[in-house]
Symmetry: C2
Subunit: 152 residues, 2 copies
Amino acid sequence: MARLLTIGDMARRTGVSVSAIRFYEARGLLSPIRTGGNQRRFLPSDIRRLSFALIAQKLGLSVRDIEAELARLPLGRAPTREDWQALSARIRDRLDARITLLQRTRDRLDGCIGCGCLSLDRCALYNPDDRAAANGPGPRYLLGDEPEAPAP
Amino acid sequence: MARLLTIGDMARRTGVSVSAIRFYEARGLLSPIRTGGNQRRFLPSDIRRLSFALIAQKLGLSVRDIEAELARLPLGRAPTREDWQALSARIRDRLDARITLLQRTRDRLDGCIGCGCLSLDRCALYNPDDRAAANGPGPRYLLGDEPEAPAP
DNA sequence: GCTTGACCTCAACCTAAGTCGAGGTTGCAC
DNA sequence: GTGCAACCTCGACTTAGGTTGAGGTCAAGC
């Protein structure tokens, strides 16, 4: 029988604050058992789950994403090398997409530095794919200084 | 005398919502005058200030950053080509830094895919420069599954 | 058996960048 | 001179990822 860890033990072992661990539990990333006195007790495998979550988060996944990833594992099991590899491949694609987007933005900016038009009328920086689409409500169609006439 | 614009005019001319324009005024990006009846009236140059703010925001500056940039301009003046070029150069550096960081993260991830250690003990993904430093409170030193013994 | 630190819940608060609604006023056209 | 759209303020709400505090309980060492 592996010995169980308190929430304080988990915090010390992972560097994650106690409040954050409680938060992650509420979000479903962890499911500790409870003592008779209602205190949390974690399995040793939970350290790996939590570490996995932290790395994934650092790589840009939201807690919601991580929730989904961890849900693929049988509960109470630590992620294995294969789990990690599958996740890594998915994350790598995201990173690549973000890098490409930033590079394109930078290239456009370079094109705009010489121009200095600032009229937005046909500014390349305003192309709609710049800001990864799902960026909240509100249209954001951008019009120029003089919508009818081209910029000076 | 240039004719003044209402907040609705500004919204139509820039595509920014009325509520966002009020928000930007509260944040100091714009300083419209008021009519006797307390309604906002904008100078034509404010369209450029606002456009400038939108492009800068799209390039990744926060409203706070933009506030600082616009504060460099004399109030009531529209940004010139030179202003734009100076700002662009600063932004370009930021974009480059972000791209570099993401690329480094991706390379580390590639190194980790084969490893699959997940022990965090000495995971390259945990190097402290990964997540642009000022990332909120809380230590975040990461320890392994077995802090004393190296991972299997 | 008592003290003390660790733990519990729940609610409120934080930042960012706004949105939304209530309740009230302005300004322009007819 | 009135009708109505556009305007005003102010406060509450949103998402994400937590932190902080109040008020109360648990567990372990002496």
